[in-house]
């Protein structure tokens, strides 16, 4: 009797699996996720890191030229390449995964506001190795360069004068430039071997790359984009006390909106996958009957964010000093996107949002 039951259930089980296979001419979930990871690594992560590496290389050359011959022209060159690289960075910031995560790379590239006192202390003491310590993360990377290129003296002439008269400034600029290049190239090089591990980690666990990358994307939207670029300067976490000096590229005074829009585009491109499988396609495939339009709702919200940012002053410092409530309104629109990503999207994707390992029931 028992044997019969076992045999019968095995046969019917095999039959069921056989039946369910033929209906799906489309790819299995595993294959879809695999394609998504391949798309992320080959069309987003690796090319963007490579792009950043190239831009930093240009920047490095211009810094060397500036140091040899500080002039208005060579300073402008450095500034141009700095902005090019900073814009590219906005496409990389969400990829805090693998070699970047292991080396705390992101913390060395774009922690702002930069610490002017730390920078000045290191310049006068010349003790560069102190930059290895985490409290000095904000004394390097793009924000430190922002200060060194735009804020270190009253006007362009006095900036050039400073670099010509005291080599310590040029040396420090070279030091943080080298660090940015070395740290970035390390990540770029590691990716050639990390790639296969990344795209093969398809399973649904808190540590698989599919899940980690999705979590990183959401984290970037919430922290790097929403809080750092908007929430903190506009005083969301500080009782309405606005902090114009906590704006990204504060010393440049003119590109905070450009960088925010670049980050916005990067977020939207990643979400949509640029024609290949990404989060949007997944939401379409797994849409629940209750929210069939979730994937386009998210796009609508991201578009709203973009147009709201476009309405702000190109310099967020001016925006905060004149009409900070407009920027607070932009924050609210971005916040509505966070809600969509963290509740609706996660509910459909069924991805563990944290690394907490605990039993459920």
């Amino acid at each position: 009797m028992f044997k019969k039951i076992v045999v019968f259930s095995l046969i019917s089980f095999a039959f069921l699996i056989g039946c369910s296979d033929d209906s799906s001419s489309s790819d299995t979930v595993w294959e879809q996720k695999s394609q998504m990871l391949t798309n992320w690594s080959d069309n987003f992560i690796i090319p963007n890191y490579q792009n950043l590496s190239d831009r930093l290389s240009d920047l490095e050359n211009s810094v060397a030229a500036f140091n040899t011959d500080p002039s208005l022209q060579s300073l402008e060159d450095v500034r141009d390449f700095w902005l090019q690289a900073y814009k590219t960075w906005q496409h990389v910031e969400m990829f805090n995964i693998g070699p970047a995560e292991q080396t705390f790379y992101h913390l060395k590239m774009n922690v702002f506001p930069t610490s002017v006192s730390n920078i000045e202390n290191i310049i006068s003491a010349g003790n560069y190795s102190i930059l290895d310590n985490s409290p000095y993360n904000s004394a390097q990377g793009f924000p430190a360069m922002d200060y060194l290129l735009f804020g270190i003296a009253e006007d362009d002439a006095s900036i050039i004068n400073l670099y010509s008269s005291n080599p310590n400034y040029g040396n420090y600029l070279t030091e943080i430039m080298d660090r940015m290049v070395i740290n970035t190239n390390y990540v770029v090089n590691e990716w050639s071997s990390y790639r296969s591990a990344f795209i093969s980690s398809v399973e649904n666990t808190a540590t698989s790359s599919a899940n980690k990358m999705t979590n990183d994307f959401i984290y970037h939207y919430e922290k790097g984009f929403r809080a750092n670029k908007f929430g903190i300067p506009v005083g969301i976490f500080s009782g309405g006390n606005i902090y114009p000096d906590k704006v990204e590229a504060y010393y440049n005074k003119n590109v905070s909106r450009t960088l925010a829009l670049e980050a916005m585009d990067a977020i939207k491109m990643f979400y949509n996958g640029n024609g290949n499988p990404s989060l949007k396609q997944f939401l379409d495939n797994f849409a629940t009957d209750e929210m069939p339009n979730l994937s386009s709702d998210i796009n609508t919200q991201l578009d709203l964010c973009k147009s709201s940012i476009q309405g702000l002053d190109s310099n967020f410092v001016n925006q905060l000093n004149n009409e900070y409530l407009e920027m607070a309104a932009t924050y609210d629109i971005i916040q509505a996107g966070t809600v969509l990503l963290k509740t609706d999207m996660l509910s459909v994707l069924q991805i563990a949002t944290d690394y907490v390992d605990a039993d459920g029931d």
């Binding site: 369910s20 649904n204 809600v339």
Partner: protein, 457 residues
């Protein structure tokens, strides 16, 4: 009727039944505790957090800091005592108190099966599970062949309640008519071999699992109770729980339920198990057999009436508690008023996103709180969709900021929750100052009404 009850209460059964149950329970608890320890959860759940969520009325159950490890040591020692049946009553009482205390420290880790362990260990305190094959028998040189039938039936009744109520809870429109939340959960199990990419992706499988799960929970108590279907029922128990163990991260629960189901088998089966265990411990067994016991046919309680009354009240509470949700006007799955302690397992997929705004009521200035400063990731996740925790945390924040010197503040929640794949909806009334709301069992008027309807139990 009264005569029948009296006759029933006088019936007796093999003492080996409770002995086997005791040994299984002890071993399971021993393993569970060691597993919990080895995963580092004692620290991450009970020691590391700055703030612990409390059950209403049990705010006194504070974390013991590093000494929480001692609490687990007590639990582990008790599990050993229970397994070998040494000082059984004392071990069981201490186990009940230490285990329950641990659960009371932190509410965000509430699981139905921890609650099950708590009340089961309470029940076991009153049952003669050490009258056969135990160190107590060895030391007192008295063993009993039989114990009252009702003592075994008490465990069966508790299990019947767990299964049957879990089945009743599945009779709702989301579970049966929409196959929710299984329809959301199963496709994400694509990484399970063989069935992950095939069966679990099929919608009809989600419906079959929903209906099957409901019928399983409702019928399994009766399949186990009825002699002719018992073996089949047990196979079902094994299959079902192993299946859920593969699908969900539910720890030890499936195994605890499987071994607990042994209690439904007759005395012969248990005698065989005891014989088998006797063989296993042969080295010590020789010592065992040199002692002569007074073999007494039936065990009689010293304070029978007291035990019976306590258990009577216990079961009335168990039967009534899951229905307390009727007293609340809100949607049960949404507001979770009367949700816990009711065997509602695996019924909802809920994700919340909740932020708190601290407002200076004099100036109108406000700022938002970074939850990560105060809570662990697990706490944030659980708090974000459970109103009682949102309120408790708001009061904690209120105290924190008042201590920092903020005066005349209000705390408002901006909370969005998605339930069973529905679009997120505002969860807490953002106009309500939570500092003005008190913790209580009363209906929480500041929970926004659910915009949909879920019919059923």
């Amino acid at each position: 009727m009264i005569l029948e009850i009296n006759n029933y209460l006088k019936r007796s059964t093999a003492s080996s039944k409770l002995a086997v149950f005791r040994i299984c329970f002890g071993l399971m608890m021993l393993y569970s505790m060691l597993r919990f320890w080895s995963k580092g959860w004692i620290d991450s759940i009970y020691i590391a957090p700055k703030f612990h969520f409390k059950y209403f009325g049990f705010e006194w159950a504070q974390s013991l800091g590093e000494y929480t490890y001692l609490l687990f040591v007590v639990c582990i020692l008790c599990a050993v005592l229970i397994t070998i049946g040494l000082w059984y009553r004392l071990g069981m009482i201490l186990f009940f108190f230490s285990f329950t205390y641990i659960e009371l420290i932190e509410k965000t880790t509430y699981l139905n099966h921890y609650y099950f362990i708590s009340i089961l260990s309470f029940l076991l305190v009153f049952l003669p599970a050490n009258k056969c094959f135990s160190m107590d028998v060895f030391l007192r040189k008295k063993q009993y062949k039989e114990i009252p039938q009702w003592t075994v039936d008490a465990i069966k009744l508790l299990m019947v309640i767990v299964y049957f109520y879990a089945g009743l809870a599945k009779i709702n429109s989301d579970w049966l008519l929409k196959a929710l939340p299984l329809k959301i959960w199963m496709p994400s199990k694509y990484d399970i071999p063989i069935i992950g990419e095939t069966l679990l992706q099929q919608e009809w499988v989600h419906y079959a699992m929903s209906w099957g799960g409901m019928f399983y929970d409702l019928s399994i108590p009766f399949l186990l109770l009825y002699r002719k279907t018992r073996f089949f029922g047990f196979l079902m128990v094994v299959f079902f729980h192993i299946f859920t163990a593969i699908l969900f991260p539910i720890g030890m629960f499936p195994y605890i339920m499987i071994v607990s189901a042994l209690v439904f088998f007759d005395g012969n089966t248990h005698d065989k198990i005891i014989k088998f265990l006797n063989k296993m411990i042969k080295p010590i067994g020789s010592l065992w057999s040199t002692v002569t016991y007074d073999s007494i046919s039936q065990y009689h309680y010293k304070r029978l009436k007291g035990a019976q009354w306590i258990l009577c009240v216990f079961f009335i509470v168990q039967l009534a508690l899951p229905f307390r949700y009727i007293l609340y006007p809100s949607e049960l799955f949404w507001a979770e008023e009367g949700y816990r302690f009711s065997w509602r397992v695996m019924l909802v997929e809920k994700i919340g996103y909740t932020n708190f705004k601290v407002v200076n009521k004099t100036t109108g200035a406000s700022f938002y709180v970074r939850n990560g400063h105060f809570l662990t990731d697990l706490q944030i996740k659980q708090m974000s969709f459970q109103p009682d925790m949102i309120l408790e945390y708001a009061h904690y924040l209120g105290d924190h900021f008042k201590n920092q010197g903020h005066r005349n503040i209000g705390i408002y929640a901006e909370s969005f929750v998605s339930l069973n794949g529905r679009s997120n909806q505002q969860f807490i009334d953002p106009e309500v100052d939570l500092l003005l709301e008190k913790k209580s069992f009363k209906h929480k008027h500041w929970i926004k009404p659910f915009k949909d309807e879920i019919k059923g139990f």
